[in-house]
């Protein structure tokens, strides 16, 4: 297999990579042309990130070779990759949160004056980069004070600032809203015009068709196909990815909203600026979406419902009775569940097993006297793995070694095990592949059909429109309106989101 | 309460008395705890005694001396952690003309000589070792048939040393053995290890030695009674001191528990340092010095030619156990 084509900027040939118990990459090849946007697609755990980490010197491959600009390379570490014109936006945010934005951007290559760091140049260069990319963030602000999407934009700016010949973007848009995605696409177009190649990984079909020139598809660690995007349709991509037809993106709705179950009145957060005077109602079997721009405080609303934030005023009535969720513990007792937005910080226990991660919110159910029933723990874990279709060798595997999407599925499974009355989902399908998304939508539907109340925050408009019954649109901390999904349009939602 | 004999910030009823600043190398040292009490008793109504715990750290002690001088101590009573640090303390006291009474740990003679207001109260560091050696030799000679298990005329001993580098540990180890040898007795060291003055560590070392040498061991020598007691715990576990299985054990300090063991015949003897008189002499000299009197004024103490008041050690065995008992009255 050495039909090396000199027009390719990058050729990864026959790459194989094993982890203990997992064959993550099995003879995978990838060829990227200069100045092209090459999409890399596959289900969760297909091996996309692993392939890119092999390129970037984070993992060493077991077999195969990499040709970059016609020369064989094997970067021993990220430094070499960066120095040779490869940069990467990582799937998991890799930032030093205690430090400021410019420290993060110049980490590993600080500009110096003699032996000292040239802070002034750092600042000015950062500003210049931000300006050219149209990003509006103070280079001196601490990363930990940024919102997730701002952090993501900083990561993108950093990758761009290396002036690399190829930039890997591993799910760069998973925490961006539509405006920012457009912004990113502008940046990508510009890079393309400068003959920079982009390897673009995403689970958002619309983006792939819109931005990419070629698509390589992987399945279960194997190479499936590379095709020009123009010749592809969403359904074809999905078929190649999943290995079967998936005729619809959204399952047919079977839920019928019933009696009122949750009534939120005048909800106002204690620590402002945050949301205020938020009102809405939720019925049994109803799926209520929450839309809004970044910083519109959607997350804070559900966090408050779940007892993670203090309220200044307002009431939450569950089934006609006022409940006070002072803590997540209380909230869980009251029948709430929350799949949080930031999987890494508030979701997974990375070093612990899938079993542990599945059952941790539901321990009380396993008690027999003071002890926990191993049998029930095993059964429930099995249920999570099976019903959520988690790809893992065993129950004892640590969740940290799963692909991002599979981690997310375990977390959703965790909360389903608690059999909540009210299920709060904050960006539940972030980083999840289409097949799994479909499964999750099905689950959400099914839960709704069982009479649960479901609230789902999402920045993916098609998802909101495809899954929900009604949509609450937040704008700058206020509820700008509640619309009926059947009767609304993307434009109306955007208009409401920008209302205040 | 009187339990921890400090003094309050120079106020109270002792406030008007001349201030004596004192440091104890380690407050909870078995022996120093008695010296301290003797000092407290002697100081009552005579001087305002400001006591400090140097926590076995010479730097800390130096700092405490700074503090004491800053607080206006009229004389210093110093129980050195590290005898070679005496010069530094004199360097601090001399410019202010503050007299220094070292006690219990002896500075180099040249250092005492170098400052006319420096004195020493206590023993010679080596003396406890010498006396322990004499104790061993005497017990051996008297019980040779019983103690010399392999009948080779030599003492096969194991030795539990205190903290390595600690002047007492070094002196006791060296002089106990050399004294036995000087008495014409052959010795053979089976094992020597540090028990860091600690009973638990001593027990564990003794466990290992008993497992290895079993009845080859003929004598257990410990740098202090605490470790001797630890060794006895191990010996008891191995069946010693019941029936005719016996092991001679010696220590230093003659603490109450050791006296009890001597009484019961589980310990051959120990070496008593006279805490009462050491404490009293220290205060007597320091009080006189604080009042700018001659240090020996109105006392029965005598200075030898190196400006030291010597308070001797005493060997304690079953025969004179009352001497030990009296020390704790």
């Amino acid at each position: 297999m050495s039909e090396s084509n000199s027009t390719n900027l990058l050729e990864m040939l026959n790459i194989t990579k094993r982890f203990p118990g997992v064959l993550a990459l099995d003879n995978v090849s990838l060829k990227v042309k200069p100045g092209s946007v090459h999409a890399l697609m596959g289900e969760n755990g297909a091996g996309k990130s692993t392939l890119m980490k092999c390129l970037f010197g984070i993992y060493s491959m077991d077999e195969g070779k990499i040709l970059f600009e016609g020369k064989e390379v094997a970067f021993a570490n990220s430094k070499q990759a960066l120095e040779n014109g490869v940069s990467m936006v990582h799937q998991e945010l890799n930032q030093v949160r205690q430090q400021n934005v410019m420290d993060n951007i110049w980490l590993g290559r600080f500009p110096k004056k003699g032996i000292f760091i040239d802070e002034k140049k750092m600042y000015e260069d950062t500003l210049a980069i931000f300006k050219s990319l149209d990003i509006n963030i103070d280079p001196r602000s601490k990363v930990s004070t940024l919102s997730v999407s701002e952090m993501q934009m900083v990561e993108i700016a950093k990758a761009v600032s290396y002036h690399s010949k190829i930039i890997v973007m591993d799910e760069p848009t998973s925490s961006l809203t539509e405006n920012e995605v457009d912004h990113l696409f502008k940046i990508i177009r510009r890079l393309q015009s400068e003959n920079v190649a982009i390897i673009y990984i995403s689970h958002k079909m619309e983006e792939i068709l819109k931005i990419s020139d070629e698509v390589t598809i992987m399945r279960d660690g194997q190479y499936i196909a590379t095709q020009s995007s123009k010749e592809l349709t969403t359904d074809e991509i999905i078929k190649l990815m999943v290995g079967r037809d998936l005729s619809q993106r959204f399952p047919a709705k079977v839920n019928k909203p019933g009696d009122l179950i949750l009534k939120v009145t005048d909800l106002t957060a204690e620590n402002q600026p945050s949301f205020y005077n938020v009102n809405f109602e939720l019925r049994k079997g109803e799926i209520l979406g929450i839309a809004g721009l970044v910083g519109s405080k959607r997350t804070e609303v559900v966090e408050a419902l779940f007892g993670m934030r203090s309220l200044k005023s307002g009431t939450i009535e569950l089934g006609g009775k006022v409940v006070k969720n002072h803590s997540p513990q209380r909230a869980i007792k009251n029948g709430f569940a929350l799949v949080t937005e930031e999987r890494r910080t508030t979701g997974i226990y990375p070093d612990l097993s899938i079993s542990f991660n599945s059952i941790i919110a539901n321990l009380a159910q396993y008690r027999k006297g003071v002890f926990l029933s191993d049998r029930k723990v095993y059964d429930d874990t099995k249920w999570v793995i099976d019903s959520m279709n988690v790809r893992t060798p065993t129950q004892k595997t640590s969740i940290g070694s799963l692909s991002g999407g599979n981690q997310q599925k375990v977390i959703i499974g965790r909360w389903l095990l608690t059999k909540p009355d009210i299920l709060l989902l904050d960006e539940p399908t972030r980083g999840i592949d289409v097949g799994a998304k479909f499964e999750i939508y099905q689950l959400i539907n099914q839960l709704a059909a069982e009479g649960k109340g479901i609230i789902m925050i999402s920045s993916e408009m098609p998802e909101l429109l495809g899954v929900t019954d009604r949509i609450l649109v937040m704008s700058n901390g206020r509820a700008a309106g509640i619309v009926d999904t059947q009767a609304t349009s993307q434009e109306e939602i955007m208009r409401l989101a920008a209302l205040y | 309460s009187s339990s921890t004999s400090g003094s309050d910030s120079g106020k109270g009823k002792d406030g008007d008395l001349p201030a004596v600043g004192a440091t104890i190398y380690k407050f909870d040292d078995n022996f120093m705890s008695y010296v301290r009490r003797a000092m407290d008793t002697a100081a009552k109504g005579k001087v305002n005694l400001m006591l400090n715990d140097s926590q076995n750290d010479q730097s800390k002690q130096i700092e405490q001396v700074d503090t004491l001088i800053a607080k206006g101590a009229k004389s210093l009573a110093i129980n050195l952690v590290d005898p070679k640090a005496a010069q530094t303390i004199i360097d601090k006291a001399k410019p202010k003309s503050i007299p220094v009474i070292f006690f219990n740990k002896e500075p180099d003679a040249s250092v005492l000589k170098g400052y006319d207001k420096a004195y020493y109260v206590g023993t010679t560091s080596s003396e406890s070792g010498v006396l322990q050696g004499e104790l061993i030799a005497k017990a051996w000679e008297a019980n040779k048939d019983k103690y010399d298990k392999n009948k080779d005329g030599k003492i096969q001993y194991v030795l539990l040393k205190g903290e390595p580098g600690h002047p007492d540990a070094e002196a006791r180890t060296k002089f106990a053995i050399s004294t036995v040898k000087e008495k014409g007795i052959d010795v053979e060291e089976l094992a020597m290890d540090t028990g860091m003055w600690d009973a638990t560590k001593a027990t564990e070392k003794m466990d290992a030695w008993l497992a290895k040498y079993n009845d080859k061991i003929e004598f257990v020598i410990a740098n202090n009674d605490g470790m001797a007691l630890g060794a006895i715990a191990s010996l008891e576990k191995a069946g010693y001191f019941t029936g005719d299985k016996f092991m001679p054990v010696v220590g230093v300090d003659a603490i109450p528990e050791a006296l009890e063991m001597i009484e019961k015949g589980k310990m051959v003897g120990s070496v008593l340092n006279d805490a009462k008189n050491q404490g009293k002499a220290t205060i007597d000299l320091a009080a006189n010095a604080a009042k700018s009197k001659d240090v020996l004024d109105g006392t029965e103490w005598k200075l030898d030619d190196s400006k030291a008041v010597r308070v001797p050690y005493i060997i304690v065995t079953k025969d004179n156990i009352q001497v030990g008992r009296d020390a704790y009255k």
């Binding site: 226990y349 | 290890d193 704790y328």
Partner: protein, 340 residues
């Protein structure tokens, strides 16, 4: 993949995952080569019995480490318990009793009092850590200093001042020094206590809600909160259990040595933490097993005992000990070797 190769790789994987057990075996083999008579029942019993009270302490510390905490006050609590129990268990006819008029108490009373004292102190640690958000290092450092002061005040009192509290009643020393005769040997009670404590802790860690919560808190405290774990309450329990273990261990120390001082237990926490880490407990929390902790303690004790047994000179002992610890863990770390 053919089965033979996979078998081989399985063995090497097992080896890598279980390096500490291999280290343990290698250590013993090394010492036996240096001195064949090391291989005796007496030595085995000695090592086990010396490890016993340390295992109990280490299990307490390990629980706290797994919550991503630490406990510097462990050793001082051992001392507190040792001094309290010894002072209450002096033989009736002993001349230098701390409480001259105290009748001989039934064994369990002083043990419970000592455990109550350390349990209380440890609970306070837990409260300071979980309610006032003081980092465990500082909370327990403060406690370590404070408890030492307390113990010293209790210890250094009339009538006899700072003297080892000895003359323990024979039922106390029997409790800690004797054992169950089996043939010509005795299985020390200490070992049995350690086995019981180990079993209980194993159950707590693996079979109870508290145990799972402990791992959750250490594995990701933010996530634990969101998962509905009452972090504060669970933390307090974990510290309290540790305190009870220290207390029990402290009474064993007093009984084993036959006396106690305010310095009993000094620095035991360092040994315990180190043994936990050698045994695979992660200082950043969330990771650790009971067998690992026990093995860690055994490794330390075999090093200590073995070096003394071999008669290695004390200074060299320090160097060798330092070396073995580092090398053992360096081996162990190969399983986490980062570049994959």
């Amino acid at each position: 993949m053919n089965t033979q190769a996979s078998k081989k790789s399985n063995v090497s994987k097992w080896l890598v995952d279980n390096v500490i057990y291999v280290v343990l075996v290698l250590l013993v083999v090394g010492i036996v080569i240096a001195s064949p008579d090391f291989l005796s029942m007496t030595n085995l019993i000695n090592i086990l019995s010396q490890s016993s009270s340390r295992i109990i302490i280490a299990l307490g510390v390990a629980g706290i480490l797994i919550t991503a905490g630490t406990d510097l006050s462990a050793g001082r609590m051992v001392g507190l318990a040792a001094v309290i129990s010894a002072s209450l268990l002096q033989a009736g006819d002993y001349a230098y009793k701390m409480y001259p008029n105290l009748p001989e108490l039934p064994l369990f009373v002083p043990i419970l009092i000592a455990m109550a004292a350390t349990g209380l102190v440890a609970t306070l640690n837990g409260v300071i850590v979980s309610k006032f958000h003081v980092p465990p290092f500082i909370a327990t450092l403060g406690m370590m200093i404070g408890v030492y002061g307390l113990t010293s005040i209790y210890f250094d009192r009339p009538p006899y001042g700072a003297q080892p509290i000895g003359g323990l009643s024979s039922k106390f020393t029997t409790f800690a020094q004797r054992g169950i005769p089996v043939g010509q040997y005795e299985i020390p009670y200490l070992v049995i206590y350690a086995i019981i404590a180990t079993a209980i802790i194993w159950v707590v860690w693996n079979k109870t809600q508290l145990g799972k919560n402990m791992y959750a808190i250490g594995g990701n405290p933010e996530a634990a909160k969101v998962s509905g774990v009452n972090v504060a309450r669970n933390l307090i329990f974990i510290y309290m259990i540790a305190g009870l273990l220290y207390g029990f261990s402290g009474t064993l120390e007093a009984g084993r040595v036959g006396s106690a001082t305010n310095n009993t237990g000094n620095m035991y926490e360092l040994d315990a933490i180190a043994a936990c880490v050698v045994g695979g407990v992660s200082l950043s929390g969330g990771i650790g097993t009971v067998p690992g902790v026990v093995t860690g303690v055994l490794i330390f004790q075999i090093i200590n005992y073995g070096l003394a047994f071999l008669g290695v000179s004390p200074y060299i002992q320090y160097i060798v000990k330092g070396l073995i610890i580092v090398v053992a863990v360096a081996f162990d770390m190969r399983k986490h070797a980062k570049k994959k």
